[in-house]
């Protein structure tokens, strides 16, 4: 069927708006919620905590526990990264030392500023499978 067009350009307009609408719908599928990290199988878990209960600006020791099926796993490589929630802040990166029993501990980690931080722990299991967890953290003065 042929659609007659009373005003030149209306067909084009309709076509463009349909096209725009579909782009909008497509983006809203990805964009209606901020993307989240994570996923993967639940058998491998990583937990991290700052030894000090109320972390402050300055050096901090962070302990990481690497588990698989509830068992601690030694021999993984663990990197701890601290990011502030404001752009332009240089991340603090520290490799954790293997304590031998499935626990890992950073040595030279330091919070450079008070405020909101995100601690990210990147773990590479001995079988090369990787995991990343992030924990929000509030650092005091």
């Amino acid at each position: 069927m042929k659609v007659s067009s009373p005003v030149p350009g209306t067909v084009a307009l309709r076509r463009v708006s349909r096209w725009l609408l579909s782009i909008l719908l497509a983006t809203s599928v990805v964009a209606c919620r901020p993307p989240e990290a994570g996923g993967g199988d639940a058998s491998r878990t990583v937990s991290a905590r700052v030894i000090d209960d109320s972390p402050r600006t300055g050096p901090a020791t962070i302990e990481v526990e690497v588990l698989r099926d509830g068992e601690r796993v030694a021999g993984a490589s663990v990197r701890v990264t601290g990011d502030m929630t404001h752009a332009g802040m240089i991340p603090v990166v520290s490799d954790a030392v293997d304590l031998g029993d499935g626990r890992y501990r950073t040595e030279s980690f330091a919070f450079t500023m008070a405020g909101d931080w995100i601690l990210s722990v990147d773990v590479t299991y001995p079988d090369a499978v990787t995991r990343q967890v992030s924990v929000p953290l509030s650092v005091g003065r």
Binding site: V7, G9, T10, A12, L13, T27, V30, A31, P34, P35, E36, A37, T57, D83, M84, T85, H86, A87, G88, M89, I90, P91, V93, M113, A114, G115, D116, I118, S120, S134, S138, R141
Partner: protein
């Protein structure tokens, strides 16, 4: 024949303080610059890179890693964009508006206008800066309430929203409405351009006086003289209520001959321009003027303040916008240090509410009200000491520039602080953009500060003091200008006000920074 609207006789209208003023150095005399600016696609040349950046912002903001320091959206918008804006304003002028990618919606809006034929005049009640003031505070409030700086995703939506708003406004209303009456960013730039060292000016006012159709304002269509009737019958291009005029080819003295050249979209008329307010540095006027009579004049940063450019135009709303930006700038800087959170906690207890939004709205309302009252009182005191009997509104207009200069200092110091802290992070952030999407890029995060962090305080404090000094000097100049001998008395309240604000700013900058997205700590 169509009656061409004209802006009257420019010679008769020329303000007294402009008459005889020499143009000084015209930046467009720099070799190649006039030719570049006159080129039809000059603006596009600067818009394209920013458009590409905006696409990166939206892509990474919506689909990238939601960590502010690792995302193109948050890094480029809250660090680089803001840093470059204040740098350009301090050293050149409103360069961001000049290259604003939002104005690339001009093509689509023109087309939509043609297809839908919906254009209507911008409502008369909105033809001032009051709406912009409301939108500005809404923007600054949502910046704090939603911690926009920490969310790539929201930052991307902000950019999308901006494009949508520009498109909608300039489709439904005359082109340029968005820049002049809606855009909070543009108006922020307009206010801070108060101390920019360049301004549009006419080279020779006599040429303007003889210029019949004022194309710099209305726009022009140029072709062979024989085609005039044809063009006029076809209805020359109309921008809002202004119809372009036909200028025959042999009258145009420079290479921009044939074609349609729009005039000033924000309604500025070159020979009467004394302020950068509303000038987007689009250089439409340079392209449209048939006599090559438009200059980009170098001026002293305090010239606009001392010449009373805003007061002469009775720009009350504009002046209030400047004063409010001073107080909001202080608040915005305060929000980055520890004591702010203690004040917020106290206010929360007082209000009996743990709603962040409520506490922030109350805080903004409080600071705006107290700030306005304090400023007005100081200005009025200055007027009294000078012997003026006019009301507080006249005082606000007289001294307003002093507050604006202080505002420029605070925003510049604050934005540069962030910029200098992490400017080079843009390199790893872009590398990470590709690494995150599976490209074999090795991101090196060690790039960071442009200057050693121990310098940051001194740079910030130096900038604030420089502008503080300029504000105090402007107060003295205004007092002596308006009150003669009594100016020696009148300058004190406002001068001390400038000193006090500067001291507070420097103190704020001296505090250790604390960046929190959560205003109130966990309930105890």
């Amino acid at each position: 024949m169509i009656e061409l609207p004209t802006a009257g006789d420019a010679g008769a209208q020329r303000p007294s303080h402009v008459r005889g003023a020499s143009v000084g150095f015209d930046l467009l005399r720099i070799p190649g610059l006039r030719a570049l600016v006159r080129w039809r696609y000059a603006r596009l040349l600067f818009q394209i890179p920013l458009l590409v950046l905006a696409l990166f912002v939206v892509a990474d903001g919506l689909t990238g890693r939601q960590l502010a320091p690792r995302n193109v959206a948050t890094t480029s918008v809250w660090l680089h964009y803001r840093g470059f804006v204040v740098l350009a304003l301090a050293f050149v002028g409103n360069a961001f508006c000049a290259s604003c990618p939002l104005m690339l919606t001009r093509g689509p809006t023109r087309w939509l206008k043609r297809v839908t034929g919906v254009e209507r005049p911008w409502p008369r009640v909105l033809r001032s800066k009051w709406l912009v003031i409301v939108l500005l505070v809404a923007f600054l409030l949502s910046y704090e309430i939603f911690s926009l700086w920490s969310s790539p995703w929201l930052t991307a939506w902000l950019v999308i929203g901006y494009f949508g708003a520009a498109l909608a406004t300039d489709t439904l209303f005359p082109a340029g409405t968005f820049c002049r009456y809606v855009c909070p960013l543009g108006n922020f730039n307009f206010v801070l351009a108060h101390t920019s060292p360049s301004v549009i000016a006419a080279l020779d006012h006599d040429v303007c006086a003889r210029c019949e159709t004022k194309p710099c304002l209305h726009g022009r269509v140029t072709d062979d003289a024989s085609t005039r009737a044809q063009w006029e019958a076809a209805g020359l291009p109309v921008e809002g209520s202004r119809r372009a005029s036909f200028v025959p080819l042999d009258e145009v003295v420079h290479p921009n001959g044939r074609g349609a050249f729009p005039g000033c979209e924000t309604g500025l008329f070159v020979p009467t321009v004394t302020s950068t307010m509303d000038c987007t540095m689009c250089f439409n006027c340079v392209r449209a003027c048939p006599y090559d009579n438009v200059a980009l004049r170098v001026r002293a940063p305090w010239r606009e303040a001392v010449r009373d450019a805003w007061g002469r135009r009775s720009w009350t709303a504009v002046t209030f916008m400047g004063i409010l930006l001073l107080w909001w700038g202080l608040l915005n800087a305060l929000a980055m240090i520890g004591p702010f959170f203690e004040v917020a906690a106290a206010l929360s207890a007082l209000l009996g509410s743990r709603s962040e939004a409520l506490v922030l709205v109350a805080l903004f309302a409080l600071v705006s009200a107290v700030g306005l009252a304090l400023t007005t009182l100081t200005f009025w005191l200055g007027d009294r000491l000078g012997g003026a009997r006019a009301g507080p509104l006249r005082a606000v207009r007289r001294w307003g520039s002093v507050a604006v200069i202080l505002a420029v200092g605070i925003w510049t110091a604050h934005y540069l602080f962030h910029f200098l802290t992490g400017a080079l992070q843009i390199i790893p952030v872009f590398a990470h953009f590709f690494e995150y999407r599976g490209f074999a890029v090795d991101t090196n995060w060690r790039f960071g500060a442009l200057v050693p962090s121990s310098w940051l305080f001194f740079i910030g404090a130096g900038i604030a003091s420089l502008y503080g000094f300029a504000a105090a000097a402007a107060a003295a100049a205004i007092a002596l200008r308006d009150f003669g001998a009594r100016g020696v008395w009148a300058m004190w309240p406002v001068g001390l006000f400038a000193v006090a604000i500067t001291v507070v700013t420097v103190l704020v900058m001296g505090q250790p920074m604390e960046m929190r997205g959560t205003l109130l700590g966990p309930a105890s």
